[in-house]
C-alpha cells in the first residue's frame, strides 16, 4: 500500500531500456489501469502478486512474531503453522528466494483507490478486530488501536468529556488507522490530523515494540521530528499499532449552524471573509447540492451549503454567532436545526457513509477559499464533459485554504479513476494557488525537488527497514 514503493517502482521501471522510451506518464497509466498489452510480462507478474495471507490482528504480539518470522529470526511454529523454518513459510506463500516478502496494512475504508504495486505475496494485516480505546484518568488524550472506528472514538470521547478535534471531511466509516495507513481526510478548522498525533505505538522492522513520539505530551525539541515526517508514509517505516491522539476539552456549548448559498461568487467571498476573521471553530464544512443530498436526503439541497460548528461557553455562543453571520454575509438561508453529520447515531452515520462511498473520489484539491466558487463552476463543466454527476465535500482551514474532495457518479473502475484524476489535475492547473493532492498526482510529479525529497525518503526508509519487511521496495 506504499507510495514510496509505487514511486520507486516507476523510477526503476523507467530505467529499463525497453520502457525508457515510454514517457513516464504513459507508464503510470499502463500500470494503473493494468494495460497488459503494453506492459512486459515481468511487470504484469509483479502487479498480479497480491498478498497471500491476511492476518486478523488481535494483539501486537502477532505482528511482532510475523515480523520475526519474515526476518528469519523465528520459526513459523510460533504462528501455529506446522512449519519448520523460514523457507517453509516462503514456500507456503509461493515466494521465490530472490524476492522480498513483507507486511502491509489493510485500511478499513479507502476514500480513493488502492496502490499500484501490491505487497508481493506477503502478509496483509487486518486491524478490524483491534479496536480498543484507552482514555487516561486525567488529561485530554486517548490511545486508540488502529482498527477503532472513528465514529466510536468520537462518541466515546464526548461521553468522557473530550472532543475529537479532527473530523472526516468526507464522512465515511473510517477507522482511526485509516488516517495513518490509508487516506482518511481527518482535519479540523485549525489544522490537519498529524498535528493532533502525539505518538504512535509501533512494531519496528526488527519486531520490537517501538514508541515514536510521546503519548502524553507533544514531542517538541527532542531531535528530528521523525514522527510527523514519516506519518504520511508510516507503514513503510514501521507497523503502527496504536495511535496516541491529543483531544480537546468538550466545550460547554456546541451548535452547528447551516448557511446556504445559491451563487458561487458569494460562497467564495463568504468563505474568504470567514477565514480572515479571528474566530475559531471546531470545523467548517462546505457541500455542493450533490454532496448535501447524499448527507441529508430528506432535505431539498441548495446549490451550496456551509455548515459551521460553533463551540464555547453558553454565554459566548450568541456573540460568536453574530460575528459568524456578519462574516458569512450573502447567504440565502440560515438554519440552526440541520443535523451535522457527526452527532448522529452510529447507525445513521453508517447509513450516510454507505450512500457517500458509492461516489468515485479522486483525491484532494487544496485551494484558496476565495476560489471555491471557481472550483465549483469548473467541476460542473468537467462533469458535463464526462457525462457524470459531480459533487464535492470540502472543509475550510483557518489558514484560508479550502480542502475539497470532488466525486463523480461513475463506476469505480481503474480507467475511470485515472481519466477523472487527470481531468481534475488539468482543472486544478487553471485555478491560481490550487494544488491537486492525490497519490496519482504525486506519481505524475516530475519536479526535481519533489523527486529529490522522495529519494531522501527512500534512503531513510531503507535504513529504518533494513531487514526489508515493511512493504519492501520492489523493482521490476
Amino acid at each position: 500500500m506504499g507510495l514510496l514503493r509505487d514511486w520507486n517502482y516507476i523510477e526503476a521501471a523507467t530505467e529499463i531500456p525497453a520502457l525508457s522510451e515510454m514517457i513516464r506518464e504513459a507508464l503510470i497509466h499502463a500500470l494503473f489501469v493494468r494495460n497488459d498489452r503494453v506492459l512486459p510480462r515481468e511487470i504484469i507478474a509483479d502487479l498480479t502478486r497480491a498478498p497471500a495471507v491476511t492476518v486478523k490482528v488481535k494483539d501486537d504480539t502477532d505482528i511482532r512474531k510475523l515480523v520475526q518470522v519474515l526476518n528469519g529470526e523465528e520459526s513459523t511454529l510460533s504462528l501455529g503453522l506446522p512449519a519448520e523454518d523460514y523457507n517453509y513459510f516462503r514456500t507456503q506463500l509461493g515466494v521465490g528466494k530472490d524476492r522480498e516478502i513483507g507486511l502491509t496494512v489493510r485500511p478499513r475504508t479507502l476514500l480513493t483507490y488502492d496502490w499500484l504495486v501490491p505487497e508481493q505475496r506477503g502478509v496483509q494485516l487486518d486491524f478490524s478486530a483491534f479496536a480498543a480505546l484507552t482514555f487516561p484518568e486525567k488529561g485530554h488524550t486517548v490511545l486508540a488501536q488502529m482498527g477503532t472506528p472513528w465514529k466510536t472514538l468520537y462518541d466515546e470521547a464526548i461521553a468522557k468529556g473530550h472532543l475529537v478535534p479532527t473530523v472526516p471531511t468526507v464522512p465515511l466509516s473510517f477507522a482511526i488507522g485509516d488516517a495513518v495507513c490509508g487516506d482518511a481526510p481527518l482535519a479540523s478548522y485549525d489544522g490537519e490530523f498529524p498535528a493532533y498525533v502525539n505518538a504512535l505505538r509501533t512494531v519496528s522492522a526488527f519486531g520490537h515494540r517501538t514508541r515514536v513520539g510521546f503519548e502524553e505530551a507533544s514531542n517538541n525539541g527532542t531531535g528530528y521530528d521523525v514522527l510527523h515526517a514519516t506519518l504520511p508514509l508510516a507503514p513503510e517505516f514501521y507497523i503502527p499499532v496504536e495511535v496516541a491522539l491529543r483531544l480537546t476539552p468538550k466545550p460547554a456549548a456546541r451548535k452547528a449552524i447551516t448557511y446556504t448559498y445559491d451563487d458561487p461568487a458569494k460562497l467564495s467571498a463568504a468563505l474568504d471573509k470567514l477565514a480572515r476573521t479571528s474566530l475559531r471553530f471546531p470545523w467548517v464544512h462546505v457541500a455542493d447540492a450533490t454532496a448535501a443530498a447524499l448527507l441529508r436526503p430528506s432535505i431539498a439541497p441548495d446549490p451550496f451549503t456551509v455548515q459551521v460548528c460553533l463551540a464555547g461557553t453558553v454565554s459566548g455562543l450568541p456573540g460568536r454567532e453574530k460575528a459568524l453571520d456578519a462574516a458569512l454575509a450573502g447567504f440565502k438561508l440560515k438554519v440552526a436545526d440541520v443535523p451535522n453529520p457527526y452527532d448522529v447515531s452510529a447507525a445513521d452515520y453508517d447509513k450516510a457513509a454507505k450512500r457517500i462511498e458509492r461516489g468515485l473520489f479522486v483525491g484532494e484539491i487544496r485551494l484558496p477559499a476565495a476560489s471555491a466558487g471557481d472550483l465549483a463552476t469548473r467541476l460542473k463543466a468537467l462533469g458535463q464533459q464526462v457525462a457524470s454527476k459531480v459533487g464535492f465535500f470540502a472543509s475550510l482551514r483557518a489558514s484560508g485554504t479550502l480542502s475539497s474532495f470532488p466525486f463523480f457518479d461513475h463506476p469505480k473502475d481503474r480507467t475511470h479513476i485515472y481519466d477523472l484524476s487527470k481531468g481534475v489535475a488539468r482543472l486544478v492547473e487553471k485555478i491560481p494557488g490550487a494544488v491537486f493532492v492525490s497519490r496519482l498526482g504525486h506519481l505524475w510529479n516530475e519536479d526535481p525537488a519533489y523527486r529529490e525529497r522522495m529519494r531522501l525518503f527512500r534512503e531513510i526508509k531503507l535504513r529504518f527497514d533494513s531487514p526489508h519487511v515493511l512493504e519492501p521496495l520492489v523493482r521490476p
Binding site: T141, A195, S204, N220, T222, Y224, D225
Partner: protein
C-alpha cells in the same frame, strides 16, 4: 585537511574580508550561546570556531559548505545564539556560519497569507513587517527579539500564541535548506497540506542545524485579532495557579497566551525594576478575538479565578507584563549567568511539575523562578530558570538542575527539550528503541558528518584519535549528576538578590 590559512583565503575570496572573522575576540564571542560555559569545558571541546563567516545569500552558504570538502573544517550554523545546550557552539572548531546577515523578506503574499523570509531575520522584525501589512505571525518565540527564524525552527521552540494558533512547527510551510552536499533543497511544496506526502520539513524541527543550513522559510500568517487584551490573576501558591491554568483549558476558552510566573520571578524583577508588579504567583493571560468574544473569555476567567483563591490584578499590571514579555530573563543582570530548563510536561500533571521545579530549586540551593505555559490542551512548557555566576567554581554546577528537572519531566510523562552538545544522553531516554531512527536520518542527510557534527545523536570531543574522539553519552549524564550532587552539598544558598541590592546601595 588543508591548513587554516588556505581555508581563510578561500573564505575571503568567497565572501570578502569584511565577512570573515578570525580574531580571538570574534571567536570568543561565538564560543558559547545564551548559557555561558565554565572554562573547564575547553578541556573537552574546541568551543572557539576557526572562523566566523557572515553569508548574505543562499549561494554563499552553498559555497561555504562546498569549501568544507576542501578544508575538512566542520560547518556550524548559528542564528541569534539564544539556545541553551550548545547546539550552535562548535565542538571541534570549524567554520561558524552566522546567519544574521541573511535577514531579508523575500516574498509577501497577502492573498495566500504567507511570507518567505531569510533564516537570519529575527521573529520580532518579521512580526513587525507583517503587522504593518495587516497580518500577524501566529506564534512567536519567548525570546523573539533576538531569536532568528532559522534558530527557532532548529530548536523547535514553542512560544507566545502557541496555545491558540499552534507552535512554530505549525507555522512553517516550507524551508529552503543547503544540504551537506551543498545542494539547495525545498523541503515541501508550499501549497501542500502540513503532513502531506514527501514533506521533509518536520525533520528540521529540532534538528539543531545538524541536517543542513536553513536559509529561508515560508511562514503561515494569520489575520490580526480584532482585540488583544492581557489580564492577570494572583494566587496564593504556584500549585493553585497551575490548577487554574488547567481549569481555563478545560473550560474551552482559547486565550492567545496563558502563562504562570511565580513569586520569585517578581522578586528578581522588583530588584531590577521598581515599576515591576508586586511579587506573587501570577497567571498572565492574553485574550484575543472579536470584542464580544474577548469579553466573554474574560468573564469566564474572572468566574474561574476565585475557585482557586485567585484575585484579579489591576489592568496596568498585565499590560506592563505583556509589554515586557520578551524580556523574561533580565534577572541575568544580577548574577552574570542564567540557565533555563525547558521541558514539555503533560498538562494534566502541571501542578505536580511546578512543585517539582520549585522543590529542586530549593534543594539545590539555587536562586530561580518557575515559568510555565500550556502549548495545547494536552501539553505544557515548563521552563523554570536559575541564576548562576560562571566566575565562581559552583557556577557551572547549575546545569545539574537542568538534568534533574529533565529526569523529573520523564517521570511525569514528558521530556526535556533540546539535545545540543550537553544533553545528548537524553536521546535514548526520550525515544527508547526509536532513538536509532534519529541516527538513520543524520546518516542519510549528512553521511560525511560535515554540518554541525558530533551533536544531537553523539558527543564529539576536540580530539580526533580513537578512544577519545567521542564521549559516551552516559558519561555526560554522570557528569551532570555529579554537578547536581555538588549543588546539593553546597553549604549555602545562592543569594544573588541580596548581593545585587547591596551592590546597588554601594554604588
Amino acid at each position: 585537511m588543508a591548513n587554516t590559512d588556505y581555508a581563510y583565503r578561500r573564505l575571503v575570496n568567497t565572501l570578502g574580508p569584511e565577512r570573515v572573522a578570525r580574531t580571538e575576540f570574534d571567536r570568543m564571542v561565538y564560543s558559547h550561546d545564551f548559557a555561558s560555559l565554565p572554562k573547564i569545558a575547553l578541556l573537552q571541546w574546541r568551543l572557539y570556531p576557526d572562523f566566523v563567516v557572515l553569508p548574505q545569500t543562499t549561494e554563499e552558504v552553498s559555497a561555504i559548505v562546498r569549501l568544507s570538502d576542501e578544508s575538512g573544517l566542520p560547518i556550524v550554523p548559528r542564528g541569534g545564539g539564544t539556545g541553551w545546550y550548545g547546539g550552535a557552539v562548535p565542538n571541534r572548531g570549524g567554520v561558524l556560519v552566522d546567519m544574521r546577515k541573511m535577514n531579508k523578506v523575500r516574498a509577501f503574499d497577502p492573498q495566500a497569507r504567507t511570507v518567505t523570509v531569510e533564516a537570519g531575520a529575527t521573529w520580532q522584525d518579521v512580526a513587525e513587517y507583517v503587522d504593518a501589512r495587516g497580518l500577524a505571525l501566529p506564534s512567536l518565540p519567548t525570546n523573539a527579539m533576538a531569536s532568528t527564524i532559522g534558530g527557532a525552527i532548529n530548536s523547535d521552540v514553542v512560544g507566545f500564541g502557541a496555545f491558540r494558533n499552534g507552535a512554530t512547527r505549525q507555522v512553517v510551510r516550507d524551508l529552503e535548506v543547503v544540504l551537506p552536499d551543498d545542494r539547495v533543497l525545498h523541503t515541501a511544496r508550499a501549497g501542500d497540506a502540513v503532513g502531506s506526502y514527501a514533506d521533509l520539513t518536520p525533520f528540521f524541527f529540532g534538528a539543531e542545524g545538524t541536517l543542513g543550513v536553513i536559509t529561508a522559510a515560508t511562514l503561515r500568517l494569520d489575520p490580526k485579532p480584532d482585540l488583544m487584551k492581557p489580564v492577570a490573576y494572583a494566587f496564593k501558591g504556584t500549585e493553585e495557579a497551575a490548577t487554574f491554568i488547567q481549569a481555563v483549558v478545560d473550560s474551552g476558552v482559547q486565550p492567545y497566551h496563558l502563562s504562570l510566573l511565580d513569586r520569585e520571578h517578581f522578586v528578581f524583577e522588583r530588584a531590577l525594576h521598581a515599576d515591576s508588579p508586586e511579587p506573587a504567583d501570577l497567571v498572565l493571560a492574553c485574550l484575543a478575538g472579536p470584542k464580544d468574544d474577548v469579553a466573554d473569555q474574560e468573564k469566564t476567567l474572572d468566574a474561574l479565578a476565585p475557585k482557586f483563591r485567585g484575585t484579579k490584578r489591576p489592568p496596568e499590571e498585565p499590560e506592563y507584563l505583556w509589554d515586557h514579555r520578551f524580556r523574561m530573563y533580565s534577572a541575568r543582570r544580577m548574577s552574570r549567568g542564567l540557565i533555563v530548563a525547558n521541558n514539555v510536561v503533560p498538562l494534566a500533571r502541571l501542578p505536580e511539575a511546578c512543585a517539582t521545579a520549585r522543590r529542586l530549586i530549593r534543594r539545590m540551593k539555587l536562586n530561580g523562578a518557575v515559568h510555565t505555559f500550556p502549548m495545547d490542551a494536552a501539553s505544557a512548557i515548563l521552563a523554570p530558570y536559575v541564576l548562576t555566576d560562571d566566575t565562581t567554581p559552583s557556577g557551572g554546577t547549575a546545569l545539574g538542575y537542568v538534568k534533574k528537572l529533565g529526569d523529573a519531566a520523564f517521570e511525569l510523562g514528558g521530556h526535556p527539550m533540546g539535545l545540543g552538545l550537553f544533553m545528548v544522553f537524553n536521546l535514548r531516554t526520550m525515544h527508547g528503541r526509536a532513538a536509532p531512527y534519529t541516527a538513520y536520518v543524520k546518516d542519510v542527510f549528512d553521511p560525511k558528518r560535515k554540518v554541525n557534527p558530533g551533536k544531537t545523536i553523539e558527543v564529539w570531543t576536540k580530539y580526533t584519535f580513537p578512544g577519545l574522539r567521542a564521549v559516551p553519552p552516559p558519561a555526560m549524564r554522570v557528569g551532570l549528576d555529579l554537578a547536581a550532587f555538588f549543588r546539593r552539598i553546597k553549604p549555602t544558598q545562592d543569594k544573588f538578590v541580596r548581593a545585587y541590592e547591596r551592590r546597588k546601595e554601594v554604588e
